[in-house]
Symmetry: C2
DNA sequence: GTTGTGCCTGCCCGATCGGGCAGGTCGACC
DNA sequence: GGTCGACCTGCCCGATCGGGCAGGCACAAC
C-alpha cells in the first residue's frame, strides 16, 4: 500500500482509522482533539476497558489501535493481554502502545505481545502523529528513549526468570516484605518454619539475590509486591 | 459571591477562569476540550512545568488551577511545592489537584500544601466539572475515594516521623536495600561494622519496623529509595 | 509408568542480625 | 561553657538467617 501518494487530494484515500483504548476519558478526549486536527487521521472508536475494546473493534475496523499501557497498578498484564489478543486475532491492525512511564521490561513485553510501536505520553503532537503514520504504513515506531530502554532491557538479566515465582512463593514474598520471620510466615500460612524457609530460599534464588532485604527491593522494582 | 445567580444570561458573569498544569500535552488538550464544552468555564492558560506555571499565572489571572500531581517519579515534591507556592502567593486562587493514583499520604500532603480539592483522573466529565465549580465557589471538592484515602492516611502512623532520616541514614538505607550486610555497608562507607549496625538500628526505629526487609518495603512505599 | 514440578518437612551449622550495654568526637545553638 | 544532635566505636548475646543435607506426597504430562 505504499504506492506513490499525492500529498493531498479528495479526502478519503489513505485515511488512517484509529481506535483509542485508555481508561481515562480525559486522555481519550485529548487524543481525539489532537488527532482530528490531521486531515488523514480519524478516530473511529474509543474503549475504556479491554472487554470494551474487543467488543467494538469488530464494527469499527480500525487500522491502528492506540493502546494505553499502565503499570504500577500491578496489573500491567491486562493491557498486554489485550495487545496480544488484538494482534493475533487482527494481524492487519497495528498496535501502538502509549504509556506514561518508561520501563525497560514493559517495552520488551509490549513487543512480545505484538505491539508495533511504543511512545511515551509526553511526546509532542508531531511525534505522536508521525508514530501513528509509521505504524499505519506497517513500519514500527519507537521514540529514542523507548529504543534505548529496549536495549537496556535486553542486556539486563532475564526478567522471565524473576517473574516465574509460583503462587506460593509470591504469597511468602508478601509476608517476607512485611518483616515476618520464617517462623511467623510458617504460622501465617499453616506450614512449618522449615518450609517457609525453603520458599524464601527459592525466592532468593529466582530473584538472583542472597538477602531478604534485597529480595524486597528487587521484587518491588519488578512490581511483584 | 454566592448571591442568587440567574441560571443563564449574557455570558460573562460567574465565568470560571481556569489554568491547566500538566506536563502531558495530551492531557491538557483533553481537559481543554472537555471544559470548554461548558459555557461558564474557560481555560485561560496552560503550563507544562512549575516554572512555566509561575510565569504565566500573573498575566492570566485564573480563578482556579487544575494541577496534575504525579508521584512514582520520586519527585512528587515538585508539584506539591508549586501548589504551596501558588496558594501562598495567590490565596484567592483555588487549586484543584488532579492525579492518576490514589495515595493516602499524597492527599494529605496536597491539603497541607493548600489544595482545595483532589480528584482522580478517571472521574467522568460531570464529576470533574462539578469539582471545578465547587472549588471556584470557595468550597472544597474531594471525591469519595480521595476522602476515604484521607481518613486512612490520618489514621496511619505519622509519616513525618519516617521522613526525618538523616543523610547518613538514607545512604545506609540504600545499601541495605541492595542486600549488603552490616559489614559490607561499613566497608562501602569507610566506617566500622558496628557503626553501620548502629545506623541500621536507627533506621528500623524511625521507620517503625524491626526487620531490614520490612524497612526496604516501608522505605519504598514512602519513596525514600 | 516414568518423569517432572509444586509443595511440604526435618536436621545441621556458620554467618548475620537486632537490641542491649558502654563510650567518644565534632559542630551548632543558646 | 554547656547542651544537643549527628555521627562514630567497641563488646555481648540470643534469635534469626541462608545454604546445605536428607526425604516425603500429589498431580499432570509425556
Amino acid at each position: 500500500m505504499t504506492t506513490l501518494t499525492p500529498p493531498q487530494h479528495g479526502n478519503d484515500v489513505e485515511t488512517v482509522r484509529i481506535m483509542l483504548v485508555d481508561d481515562h476519558a480525559i486522555v481519550r478526549q485529548g487524543l481525539r482533539s489532537i488527532l482530528e486536527r490531521e486531515r488523514d487521521l480519524i478516530v473511529v472508536a474509543e474503549a475504556s476497558t479491554p472487554d470494551e475494546a474487543l467488543t467494538v473493534i469488530g464494527r469499527s475496523a480500525p487500522h491502528i489501535v492506540l493502546l494505553d499501557l499502565k503499570l504500577s497498578t500491578a496489573s500491567d498484564t491486562e493491557g498486554l493481554d489485550l495487545c496480544a489478543e488484538l494482534t493475533s486475532s487482527h494481524p492487519a491492525i497495528g498496535v501502538l502502545v502509549l504509556t506514561t512511564f518508561l520501563d525497560e521490561q514493559l517495552v520488551l513485553k509490549a513487543i512480545r505481545a505484538g505491539a508495533r510501536g511504543y511512545v511515551l505520553k509526553d511526546v509532542d503532537t508531531s511525534g505522536l502523529v508521525r508514530a501513528i503514520r509509521d505504524v499505519s504504513r506497517g513500519e514500527s515506531a519507537f521514540d529514542a528513549r523507548s529504543a534505548a530502554a529496549m536495549v537496556r532491557g535486553l542486556n539486563a538479566p532475564d526478567p522471565e526468570e524473576s517473574q516465574q515465582l509460583t503462587a506460593r512463593e509470591r504469597e511468602v514474598l508478601r509476608l517476607l516484605a512485611r518483616g515476618l520471620s520464617n517462623r511467623d510466615i510458617g504460622v501465617k500460612l499453616y506450614i512449618s518454619e522449615t518450609t517457609a524457609k525453603f520458599h524464601v530460599g527459592n525466592i532468593l534464588r529466582k530473584l538472583g539475590v542472597s538477602r531478604r532485604a534485597e529480595a524486597v527491593y528487587e521484587a518491588t522494582k519488578l512490581g511483584l509486591i
